[in-house]
């Protein structure tokens, strides 16, 4: 069943149109991540769903109800903000119960809900404290609790972990995932962090310039990006792009030629026919290149190690190959001196081909 549905959404501020003809359906219990760099419209979209921004055109449905003109409080949503947005003059307990008091719920019910949220988030001992006496992680937990007590179907997260340091961020990330697994609410989560997106999401919507570039599960987004923007945005370091063209090889098979080097396309499943002479871009992720050994169905290419970046578990090599600089991920135990000549092989079944003009996947 559809939980949240956005139909033909348009939002303009005067002459500037931020979102245009945006459609999005989110299933009940789904964890959807809106991913994009700053200014791509992801937070704007979330604010529209929350009712904090008045839309220009289109409709928004939540749980089968048309909420397009409803106030935020009537939409059945809870929201968690990047800056926590806790009321500084109130204790944690009052922060949690504020919305329920405004809604004039009976005190017994308020106490019950606050106690339940405090138990789930393990903030019971903090209830009498003020937000200024809490650490960043505790504050964000309280902020999540404030959404929790509202007993709503849809949770909206607006970059909730961006203000935390790396260690706390990964801890709370796991906690949010656990929360989703136990509550099974619909969650819409805005972030610019691809790790958060890949680890948390059932589906990811990658946005750029107010347009959803691709909406798919993390695996599809990672391995079969629909265009070069998605391919380059996801993955760190970025996918290697080689500009070249399609040609016919000596044995009559279709090959890819870039910088005078020929790549066989064995194992690549193209959606479009690959006609010789077509200008294309080959995208290969750093971990889909093998060093000094033949990958499945690949052939060997010579390259020179330029820079080595040991990262503990991995060892990242920057290589010069066929006139390009290419990033390759190897095991951390393997070390290479700069200037070393190595042989590469590419796993074409995991590579991507893009049209050079449209930048769309072929």
């Amino acid at each position: 069943m559809t939980s949240v549905s956005v139909k033909d959404l348009r939002l303009s501020f005067g002459q500037v149109t931020v979102l245009d003809q945006l459609n999005l359906d989110i299933q009940e219990g789904e964890f959807l991540v809106l991913l994009g760099s700053s200014g791509c419209g992801k937070s704007t979209l979330l604010n529209c769903i929350a009712g904090l921004l008045d839309i220009t055109d289109g409709q928004i449905f939540i749980n089968g109800r048309n909420v397009t003109w409803d106030e935020p409080k009537d939409r059945g949503i809870g929201m968690v903000f990047q800056s926590y947005a806790l009321y500084p003059q109130m204790t944690v307990e009052k922060n949690l119960s504020f919305g329920l008091k405004v809604a004039k719920l009976p005190q017994g019910e308020i106490d019950k809900r606050v106690a339940r949220a405090a138990e789930i988030l393990q903030i019971g001992p903090l209830l009498k404290r003020k937000p200024s006496e809490l650490s960043g992680g505790q504050r964000q937990r309280v902020a999540i609790g404030r959404a929790l007590v509202r007993d709503v179907d849809v949770f909206l997260f607006d970059e909730p972990l961006s203000n935390l340091d790396a260690k706390l961020r990964s801890e709370l990330r796991v906690e949010i995932k656990r929360l989703h697994q136990s509550l099974k609410n619909t969650m819409i989560y805005v972030t610019h962090d691809q790790i958060e997106a890949l680890t948390l999401a059932d589906r990811i919507a990658i946005m750029k310039g107010g347009v959803i570039q691709q909406l798919a599960d993390p695996n599809t987004i990672y391995n079969a990006p629909r265009n070069m923007f998605v391919a380059g945005f996801i993955g760190s370091p970025s996918m290697n792009f080689l500009k070249g063209e399609i040609a016919t090889g000596a044995d009559g098979k279709t090959v890819f030629v870039a910088g005078g080097v020929t790549f066989s396309l064995n194992g690549y499943r193209a959606g479009d026919p690959l006609l010789p002479g077509r200008k294309v871009v080959l995208g290969v992720r750093p971990e889909h290149v093998a060093v000094d050994e033949a990958a499945a169905g690949g052939e060997l290419h010579e390259a020179v190690v330029d820079i080595e970046e040991p990262m503990g578990a991995d060892n990242l090599l920057w290589l010069k190959h066929a006139g390009h600089t290419m990033a390759v991920r190897t095991a951390g135990s393997r070390r290479f001196r700069p200037g070393t000549k190595v042989r590469l092989s590419f796993d074409m079944s995991l590579a991507s081909l893009f049209d050079a003009a449209t930048e769309e996947r072929i």
């Binding site: 904090l52 409080k73 800056s83 947005a85 500084p88 405004v102 809604a103 960043g136």
Partner: protein
């Protein structure tokens, strides 16, 4: 010998020559007297004396009897301290019409200042909140008009306002003067509150909306409790401004409602009899004492960091 050499090598500073080791170490010493400190403290002292000397003369003169003042040295401390001038200034100095001193003006000023301050701050804070958080249609135009109002000289508006107040029947009354003060405080106070509310994290406002609080709920339960510092600033501005006002007080009220400043002027400028400098000085200090007191008391209320903890700080 070789053993000692070995030991020295393992010690960390073994490589540093003894001459360098004897050099500077620890905190850099500061010279107590330097050209810089002399210039800084000298300037501060002169500036302080410039402002304190008149105050000294006033206090000293107000404590002298008239015969002593006639001797002529205004800087000399009183030989015989008397509080007679203070009592007279407060309760029996004559303004030509009546002889009950400043006390009448004091209570008038209180009755003008207190409601004017409360009403103007209440209205301006709501204005500022609406302008910064609820971007209603025409908010920018409204705000621009309000700010332009702050730049128009008072004198231009004086006569039209007199006519308006006369037409609505409030000319000469305390209520009329309170309205005038409230109106004239509006541009600067609205600007003050608008900028302060705009500096509060917008997400707090959004969170309160998701929690279901409305226009007044957010204002009274979220915004006002976070805004004590700016309310204190506005209060100081209004209290001192209205208390020290002379022009509106003399234009918009009848003599029986004259504020303290006008009363002071009438006492000092009354032409009958001898000029009683000691009474005049005492009356002036009494008039200025109230704003001074407000500064001292509310300075402590300047609690900063009220918003700490709302956002990552």
């Amino acid at each position: 010998m070789s053993d000692r050499g070995h030991l020295k090598k393992t010690a960390h500073l073994a490589e540093v020559p003894a001459a360098l080791e004897a050099g500077p170490r620890g905190a850099k010493p500061r010279r107590l007297v330097s050209t810089r400190t002399i210039v800084v403290y000298g300037t501060l002292f002169v500036a302080a004396a410039y402002y304190l000397l008149p105050l000294y003369v006033m206090i000293v003169t107000s404590l002298k009897g008239m015969p002593e003042i006639r001797v002529g040295n205004i800087f000399s401390p009183p030989l015989e301290i008397t509080f007679e001038p203070w009592v007279k200034a407060w309760s029996s100095a004559c303004t030509g019409l009546n002889c009950d001193g400043l006390s009448r003006g004091f209570w008038n000023s209180v009755m003008i200042t207190v409601p004017s301050t409360i009403i103007s701050i209440a209205v301006a804070s709501i204005n500022g909140y609406a302008l910064s958080n609820w971007r209603f249609k025409g908010a920018d135009i409204f705000f621009t008009i309000l700010i332009v109002g702050a730049f128009i000289p008072y004198q231009v508006m004086l006569y039209p306002l007199v006519i308006v107040l006369r037409e609505i029947g409030l000319y000469g009354s305390l209520a009329g003067l309170v309205i005038v003060h409230t109106i004239f405080g509006m541009p600067i106070l609205t600007l003050l509150f608008r900028n302060y509310f705009a500096s509060l994290p917008e997400e707090l406002f959004k969170a309160a909306r998701v929690d279901g609080a409305g226009f007044w709920g957010i204002f009274l339960k979220i915004m006002v409790p976070m805004s004590l510092p700016i309310f204190v600033v506005a209060m100081i501005l209004q209290v001192t401004g209205i208390w020290n006002d002379f022009l509106f007080g003399v234009v918009f009220t009848r003599p029986e409602y004259y504020p303290m400043t006008v009363q002071l002027n009438n006492i000092v400028n009354s032409v009958q009899g001898v000029k009683e400098y000691n009474v005049n000085m005492a009356a002036t200090i009494l008039t200025g004492a109230f704003p001074l007191l407000v500064y001292f008391v509310s300075g402590r209320l300047f609690v900063r960091g009220i918003a700490a903890g709302a956002v990552k700080g």
